[in-house]
Point group: C2
DNA sequence: CTGAAAGCGCTAACAA
DNA sequence: TTGTTAGCGCTTTCAG
């Protein structure tokens, strides 16, 4: 069974190539009879149009790119899920690219998009992305870009985010109200808007509670697990160690718990822990982990839906389409007041939509 | 800045289109001088070849598809990671498709590949994929397919798996040695090879330990979390409930822990739990979870590497290239012998490469 | 070593 | 309503 093309169908049916093409995509100037005949035949020979020929001709690929730092993080995998659901519904194909937190990779990935490979781009930038000329350049070419979560402020386009400032504020207030008076904030970047907003919320909460906000309580983690382990261990072993800790990345929770176990710190008695995380296991950790859960699936879905809307109606101004979807604070055992019995704690556990 | 093509460069440089094309891809019958001049100019005008024109002409897309049931499972996200790393190295692009455990979706996804959109396919089938004519058909078209993890036995091509039988055997033996005498096996399909192999290992271990293997101990879970919760709760609430449980899917661990918490069963005293899982949080669960960890990243990487090899040398016979990469048994608190003190348990904890 | 020409499979004017 | 024609941008013989 050799590959079957429009030309072949035309020959078989004694019609012209153009007629087949139009009939197949329901062009309104083709006779019903012919349409039926063509469709039936195409189906019978299992015809599938060559997407690349079509892309070349139409200058549209029906393909989008998703550029992410990584996939092994519940936030991103759930976001991909959301993106894929919409894409499949809309008949788009999704190319996935991982930057692995490397600016260099991100640059070379975006460079390729200049070729017209994709109609639009969904992206979350790396921790290294301070310079953004590569994004700027792509944007200037007229390729629609929608950022989600890790946005790039300098690019004037739609951004799908969650309420990071409020989340940072809420979670810090919660720790303060649970009795913490020295809260460490683990971040992964000093310039990612997402990190800056969360830490701004953290600082504001401290101020509002008449606490000092020290630079030394801001801890910059790396992309290397062992380095982070060592760093966190050092900090939690200090004499004046924090009695509360906020982790702004999911995977740090494992490291923190591990360190506490290894140096004999009891959560939440010795130290309270909260984490920005989408892990479904948060509730069954030892102790269960208080989290700020981002609406990952929703964010992916919204970003994708918006991008497709932009691709379908050219008059849509992405500049004015940013969306903020609130996160949820799940209060669990890792951050509750000391001295409250387990049963009481259960009552304290709650789920708060951050506003 | 309008899109720059080979034709444009040819005009600008006063050369022919063919010369430019050849010069850019280092055709050996072009003068060094010309090559340099062309390259330099192409770089200066930021030329990026149109991939679709090239694909159309060469009948090669430099693109592969990855078809998975879902992404929000550590196994699959790590596998994607492995795949992407190799793809990026080899200059391939990866299209991602989620079947969401639906055979219908899987069929329509594969149908599209008949078009020549992708040069090859990496896939893990759905729990519903009993009939496989859609895969057969694609395979017959000569599109190389490499299965990983959830393979389809009926298709004669390369399969990258882990030692599922041995894993099932090892984990069951471990539970028996920890004192269990009634072990429930949670599965997600009665026909997925991966499930059948694991359960075969489970049954063999029971027999070798002179235990009865009852069909009623095999529990078929669904894709719906609430249904699973209800089902597991029912089973663990029975008078003759199991005192050991093996979950063959990562996400079931959360459900099991939740059920135990809700009905007051203590792990591991009342019931021991083990799970096939790649979750990094396994070690910090309450109690820490014994797992069989599949080499997810390696499997993805191997599958991708193999596919690219097949794409590069047409004489490679995928039929003979299957690989089995062993899993690891991580023994943790959730499955240890009752009556052993916490400190002792620590010594018991170990990591065993299953063979 | 370079160029002319044909064509990958499809679409979109424009004719008939 | 259908057919003719001219490409989309690139690769690849085959001549020069």
């Amino acid at each position: 069974m050799s590959i079957i093309t429009i030309k072949q169908i035309a020959r078989d049916l004694g019609l012209s190539i153009a007629t087949i093409s139009k009939a197949l995509r329901d062009g309104h100037d083709i006779g019903e009879e012919t349409k039926k005949r063509v469709r039936a035949y195409a189906l019978s020979v299992n015809y599938t149009p060559n997407p690349y020929a079509s892309s070349l001709r139409k200058r549209k690929s029906k393909t989008i790119a998703v550029v992410l730092p990584e996939v092994t993080d519940s936030f991103f995998s759930k976001a991909i899920n959301g993106i894929e659901v919409v894409a499949q519904m809309k008949g788009y194909h999704v190319l996935i690219y991982l930057s692995h937190e490397s600016l260099l990779r991100e640059q070379s990935i975006l460079k390729d998009f200049q070729s017209g490979r994709v109609d639009g781009v969904l992206m979350s930038i790396t921790t290294e992305t301070e310079c953004n000329s590569h994004i700027q350049e792509l944007h200037a070419r007229g390729i629609p870009i929608v950022f989600f979560d890790r946005v790039c402020n300098e690019i004037d386009t739609a951004k799908i985010t969650t309420n990071d400032f409020e989340s940072g504020y809420a979670v810090t207030s919660h720790l303060l109200e649970s009795g913490c008076n020295k809260i460490g904030f683990l971040t992964i970047s000093n310039c990612l808007p997402i990190c800056m907003k969360r830490s701004a919320g953290y600082k504001k909460a401290l101020i509002d509670h008449h606490m000092e906000s020290k630079e030394s309580d801001m801890i910059l983690c790396s992309n290397n697990e062992e380095e982070n382990y060592t760093l966190i261990k050092k900090i939690l072993s200090q004499k004046k160690r924090p009695n509360g800790i906020i982790a702004s990345v999911e995977k740090l929770s494992t490291t923190i718990y591990q360190v506490c176990k290894d140096i004999g710190l009891q959560i939440p008695n010795d130290i309270k822990v909260v984490c920005f995380s989408n892990q479904s296991t948060a509730a069954i950790l030892n102790p269960s982990l208080t989290t700020v859960t981002q609406p990952a699936f929703e964010m992916g879905k919204t970003a994708a839906a918006l991008l497709f809307k932009a691709l379908e109606k050219t008059n849509l101004d992405l500049t004015k389409e940013s969306v903020i979807i609130p996160s949820t604070l799940h209060i669990r055992e890792s951050s509750v007041l000391a001295g409250i019995s387990k049963t009481k704690n259960k009552l304290l556990q709650k789920e708060i939509l951050i506003s």
